[in-house]
Amino acid sequence: MRDRGWTRALLVPGALFFIAFFLLPMARLAVIGASGRDGLAAYAAIVTDATYRSALVATLAVAAATTAITLVVSGVAGVFLQRNRFRGRSLLLALLTLPLAFPGVVVGFLVIMLAGRQGLIGTITNLAFGHRVVFAYSLTGLLTGYVYFSIPRTILTLVAAAEKLDPRLPEAARSLGASGWRIVVDVLIPGLKPALLSAGAICFATAVGAFGTAFTLATRIDVLPMVIYTEFTLSANIAAAAALSFVLGAVAWAVLAAGRSFAGSTVAAAG
């Protein structure tokens, strides 16, 4: 029974740290959010204020597109790598998962390298068509960055999930005459559904809350994290920034919680 006491005691330092530096500050943030000129209405401003609403719509749209593209790309590559053995396969997998923990700022810079004013795509299109294609500094650039950011971790999750699939299922389907496409639709996708949902939730939540990439691409990308940052620094509108970030946090958390309830647990990391 004394062991029980010791075990409880081990919780104390972590719990105190967490309460002091997360729960209390978050509670304070919630209070401050309602302390501005508009009071509690600040929390509704995210949908009632036209600027905030359009930022919200842009944020959700980019996040949804990121999730869809990442899942398709990583799904195809991940399942392919898991189901086939060939020379160079492990190198390929290593390269695909290398940018796993690149911070958002760096990813933003890589997008500039690819699609910025001096970027590779611009140079190639200039040589080929006499016209520079530049999309780094727009929502498309942001989307490119988020997809780049999300592919490594999603491939990792999906390869691991595909490993647990019973290899006899696709074989049985094939011996029953199912085409490759039918096997994908009827066997692989249902089998990978939990992993797809949880990985998708992580992509979505990361794209909703990430700040570094947008900050690097910067200038005129009005997604919510950028709006919050502007309200806080340039307008010194702390109440609005607090209310918006509280709502943003709630959205990101809700999406992740929904994803987790569908599937096992993976921790997301926003860049």
Partner: protein
């Protein structure tokens, strides 16, 4: 006889290679730009270490600060995280689930929100606000769940409870068991968690951008500065130094996880 690869195989391989190109080419471009005399002219202008030297003289403080913060962050997450993980592995599953859910919040909630919350609560404590420990607090919040989960996963897989019972029946007390049985059996989880914590701390930007002061600039903050205001070659050289720090950590992580994702 080896069968000729099917069309489906070739198409999927080509697709996967294309994804790989998308991920790797920008890194190569950035490294090349950091070593090129003039990026507008291209590699023909020659290679140089001038930009790397410029970054080193102007920004090496940010590198040392980041390494310092990451080391401190690792120490704290070990001290707080391992006991937490152990205690949670011994708690009722309802409580453990609830605690885990809470603990992951700083990762789920955008860093911007956490940073704002810290600023509105502790920003008036000047000595704390302007010190690097203010950033450290944010990093610990963000990385702690990775340590706890990594250790918890191992504690769940290895049957530590049985080992402990054995030790207890031989008369080992609580602390003796914790140090001699529990810690060694979750070594793998601790190592994986430690690599993750260190890597994430070195690269953290979302919170750090709001938590830093002009005197406490970390590496990613310096990177953002350089991207915004300095020439492309310098930004690239800076990125190169960052990659030199972080890629070994990522490769080590891959090696460690290799057993799991073959």
């Amino acid at each position: 006889m080896k069968a000729r690869p099917s069309l489906a195989f070739v198409v999927q391989l080509a697709f996967t290679l294309a994804v790989c190109v998308f991920l790797v080419v920008p890194i190569v471009l950035s490294v090349a730009a950091g070593l090129t005399v003039n990026v507008f002219v291209g590699l023909d202008s020659g290679l140089t270490l001038r930009w790397v030297a410029e970054v080193w003289s102007g920004y090496r403080d940010t590198i040392f600060l980041s390494l310092g913060i990451a080391t401190a962050c690792l120490a704290i997450t070990l001290l707080l995280g391992i006991p937490l993980a152990y205690a949670l592995s011994r708690s009722s599953s309802t409580f453990a689930r609830f605690a885990e859910e809470l603990l992951v919040l700083p990762v789920a909630v955008p860093g911007l929100a956490t940073a704002l919350a810290l600023i509105v609560t502790y920003g008036s404590l000047r000595g704390f606000r302007t010190s690097w420990t203010f950033i450290l607090v944010g990093h610990v919040l963000f990385t702690l769940p990775f340590m706890v989960r990594s250790v918890l996963a191992v504690l769940g897989a290895v049957n530590v409870a049985t080992l402990e019972e054995g030790a207890a029946s031989l008369g080992a007390g609580f602390w003796r068991r914790f140090v001699d049985v529990v810690l060694p059996s979750c070594r793998g989880g601790i190592l994986a968690g430690a690599l993750m914590v260190y890597t994430l701390s070195v690269g953290e930007f979302n919170m750090t951008w709001l938590l830093h002061t002009p005197l406490t600039k970390t590496l990613p903050v310096g990177l953002a500065d350089a991207y915004a205001s300095l020439r492309l070659e310098v930004g690239s050289a800076y990125t190169l130094l960052f990659l030199l720090m972080i890629v070994p950590l990522l490769v080590a992580m891959q090696r460690l996880g290799g057993a799991r994702v073959r």
